[in-house]
C-alpha cells in the first residue's frame, strides 16, 4: 500500500519563475494538505483540498495556488518565486472527517530559489 508520493524530490528555480509540485495521497485518503517547512522550523499550513475545492487556507499570498483532481491527487503552484520561497514543501493526506485526524506525509519536494 503506497503512502503519499511527491514529485519532484528536488528542484532549482530562479526568482520570478513559476513551479508546480505534485502529490498523490495515501490510498483511501480524500483530503490533501500542503505545508511549507523552512530550515529549522516546523511545517506551516498553506492550504487544504477536499472534494476538489480549497477548504482552508493559511497565511500565504495568492501566489500560492493549488488544485485537486477527481482521483484525489493534488498540485501546488507557486508563481513569481521569491528567494524566501526556498523550503521543503510537504504534502499530507488524511480522511475528511470530523474529529481526530492523523496526517500522513510525503517525503517532500525541496525547492531552492536562486
Amino acid at each position: 500500500d503506497a503512502g503519499v508520493t511527491q514529485s519532484p524530490t528536488h528542484l532549482i528555480k530562479t526568482r520570478g519563475q513559476q513551479v508546480t509540485l505534485r502529490c498523490s495521497p495515501k490510498s483511501g485518503h480524500d483530503t490533501v494538505s500542503w505545508y511549507q517547512q523552512a530550515l529549522g522550523q516546523g511545517p506551516q499550513f498553506i492550504f487544504q483540498y477536499y472534494e476538489e475545492e480549497e477548504r482552508q487556507r493559511g497565511n500565504f499570498p495568492d501566489r500560492f495556488s493549488g488544485h485537486q483532481f477527481p482521483n484525489y491527487s493534488s498540485e501546488l503552484n507557486v508563481n513569481a518565486l521569491l528567494l524566501g520561497d526556498s523550503a521543503l514543501y510537504l504534502c499530507a493526506s488524511s480522511l475528511g472527517r470530523s474529529g481526530a485526524n492523523v496526517l500522513t506525509f510525503g517525503a517532500g519536494s525541496r525547492l531552492t530559489v536562486l
Partner: protein, 110 residues
Amino acid sequence: SQKIEQNSEALNIQEGKTATLTCNYTNYSPAYLQWYRQDPGRGPVFLLLIRENEKEKRKERLKVTFDTTLKQSLFHITASQPADSATYLCARDNFNKFYFGSGTKLNVKP
C-alpha cells in the same frame, strides 16, 4: 493565534536514559495534541495522539501526557536508543488545519 512552542535547543542524552520533550500551547486547550517524528530530509511520521480528557497515553517505549492546567504536553521515550535520534514535532489541530511547533532535536549518544 494558536501557537505551539517547543524547546528549540537540542536535547542530548545517553543511551538507555529517558528523554523528555516539552510542548506548550497558547489560548484554549485543543481537543487533542499529536506528536510526530521527522528524520533529516524526510516528512514527519505520526507517533501518538492524546485527547484532552486523557491524562496519559502509552505506546511501547513512548509516553505522552496532557496537562490542561499547565497548557503543556510532555513526550517521553524510555530506554532511549541511538535510533531514536530525530526531530520531534508537536501539533494541534483546528478543524483539520494543523499548527506545528518548531520541533526539538533529540540526540541519543551510545
